[in-house]
Symmetry: C2
Subunit: 433 residues, 2 copies
Amino acid sequence: MPARDLENGTSSRPLGVALVGFGTVGQAVARILCNGSHGRLLLTHVCNRRVERKRAGWVPAGVTWTDDIEAVLDSPADVVVELIGGHDPAASWIRRALEAGKSVVTANKQVIAEQGAELEALARRRGRRLRFEAAVAGGIPIIHGLQEGLAGDRLFRVLGILNGTCNYILTRMEADGVSFDAALREAQELGYAEADPAADVDGFDAQAKLAILSAVGLRRPIGASSIPLRTITTIDAVDFAYAKQLACTIRQVSRAEHDGDGRVLAAVQPMLVPRTSALAQVSGSRNVVVVEGAAGGETAFFGHGAGGDPTAVAVVSDLESIARGSGDPAARLAAGPAASAVQDFVSPHYARFIINDRPGIVAALAGVFSRHGVNIDAVLQQPGWPKTNLPFVMTLNACSAAAVHAALAEASAFDFHVRPPLWMPVLTPRQQT
Amino acid sequence: MPARDLENGTSSRPLGVALVGFGTVGQAVARILCNGSHGRLLLTHVCNRRVERKRAGWVPAGVTWTDDIEAVLDSPADVVVELIGGHDPAASWIRRALEAGKSVVTANKQVIAEQGAELEALARRRGRRLRFEAAVAGGIPIIHGLQEGLAGDRLFRVLGILNGTCNYILTRMEADGVSFDAALREAQELGYAEADPAADVDGFDAQAKLAILSAVGLRRPIGASSIPLRTITTIDAVDFAYAKQLACTIRQVSRAEHDGDGRVLAAVQPMLVPRTSALAQVSGSRNVVVVEGAAGGETAFFGHGAGGDPTAVAVVSDLESIARGSGDPAARLAAGPAASAVQDFVSPHYARFIINDRPGIVAALAGVFSRHGVNIDAVLQQPGWPKTNLPFVMTLNACSAAAVHAALAEASAFDFHVRPPLWMPVLTPRQQT
């Protein structure tokens, strides 16, 4: 049986769907495909390592269970849904599926961030589709939104909360004043965070997602690994107290924008965001993506960024898109050599110091900032701390992140620090939603 | 020249676009089409009454200016963009364009709410497309979101702020305590509100939009005119003071949901919404649409609900969708006999009275509520008002809107009212976002 011609989508035969990866998301996809509400989609294969332990009674008898990817690639299935994640063997399986004349739906942010444009071109040459709504922000239909719903605009900015684990940790710290470590342990106990949380808290997960949003929304390919990252692990409960004093809270913010000179500014980092901003309203493991366009202004998408069911909605929406014979999206993944992102945003900044107090510290820091052309806006010091472990905050007038970074690198050499200084940009009203 | 085959979308010839209606939105669409960023779209015609006064030097010389719809219908243009609004002659022109083998993009909420399914079926029979992203919530890509991005889910609820004029008026009252009349005048001076504001403030505009969202998102056709409306003109500055005391604000909320028994509950009315809810965050003329699905949970879309440029983005996105040969959307407008919406939501309520005070009033009102099975939660009375013109509020425990309506209809007969009582449902956490 030949894979049907997806160009016209007029076949009345249902689309045969092979699931590769039968974990939380794969099972949620299978449940939706088997609940009778998507008559154009027919589950044909479930492929997983040691698949026997995965067999589920609610899956119809006609479905083939296999642990052999070759059986899927050789099958008449029209679409391969890749849900195993990671670089290998996922990337080669996606490539081989496309070469075998199948369309591919994937939730794999790494593979799309790194090889998406090339794989999309391969799909196009074969007259097939590569779709990846589930790779960014789970159930939020942001890829469809960028590729189709906002295709009429020229977007110059994308900003969001793309990692639900970080957002869970930060909103827990915000709500109850718990420490980072306590919030992380809680997230791990609830299954939101991995035993090794680095991909989330250090920003690698959001980095790949932001690279995809830049390629689709800004039409600029940027090398994911070139996007500067700053960890949230250095955020302390005291930072939330000072943020509150500044009418802000703290979020891990991913942002990318044209700078007007053909460069893409991008970063994934903790930021102070006004409590009235859309980003501050996103609590728990939810995500938000805000885009800004030349004509349409600001548009924001909120929803569940992770979890089996929301992510499965994204996968099934992609399958429906293929089943109805949707053509190439208006906005493809930008191809061409990936530019390096630069972190050169200009904004006010927050700098927090924990010191062993003695006279002259503010003067010493002020001297360093002055040499780097950075103006101090205010010095905040909440009472009640011992002099030997004293937190205080300097807010800095709008300046480049590079200047703050350089100033604090120099200031780190002072011997009065109990902990290394921490700095964060402040999202300004121009930037907030 | 035959209209090209849109089924496969593989033509390299650009899509010829005829604009019918050259007001604010039409001009914004033309500017985007002429700015060089949409090479697949070619403006061929501008049709408007007395078109000569509309001629603009920035429109390329090859474009045909006409005031004759027949010239457009007889032309080789591939797509007619209908931007004249209203029922007639818009509906018949859309129909005739489809019958002439053209696709149609429209911003016309009335025509889509009333005849959308029928016109979509006509388009399908002709192998053409009918798209209407601009008909609901301007630049927010909610129609694409429902038809494609969330096609994998089963949505049971849609809730939103769909009228920017009402939202502007209510957020002005909220921010500065101005009266309804003053806020309305301000909106009129800014061009947000018409000289006759009834379509906005009485809910007719949002009614048509909600009917479209129900047909696309809930897959239930409801007769637009069957959706119960309640005006915002009765909202007083004092209501914002009491709302604030209840940690709420007031918004015109449009909502529709399955009730589980095959009925659609729907209404457009002012509601108390918690200040922490997504709806309360929407200020000025912006819109929001919140949908809730069985698998994906809550997803929200924020953006500019009106204005030439944002609405033009929606139109151009639809044109791009047609140009790329997108097939029928996964979620079409629900067809079949339109059901009548029922307003039978159960929620807590707010009831405000302005009275000429005398003993026994609370007892009298309590007696009426009791006879209708409605429990009073609290009585609020802010100080500083004269006894002859005294506002006070009763909050009511969760009960049906019908019970509150009936109780207040009865209570209106008392002679102590200085103004008719006002009631509003309160959006509860289960319902808020």
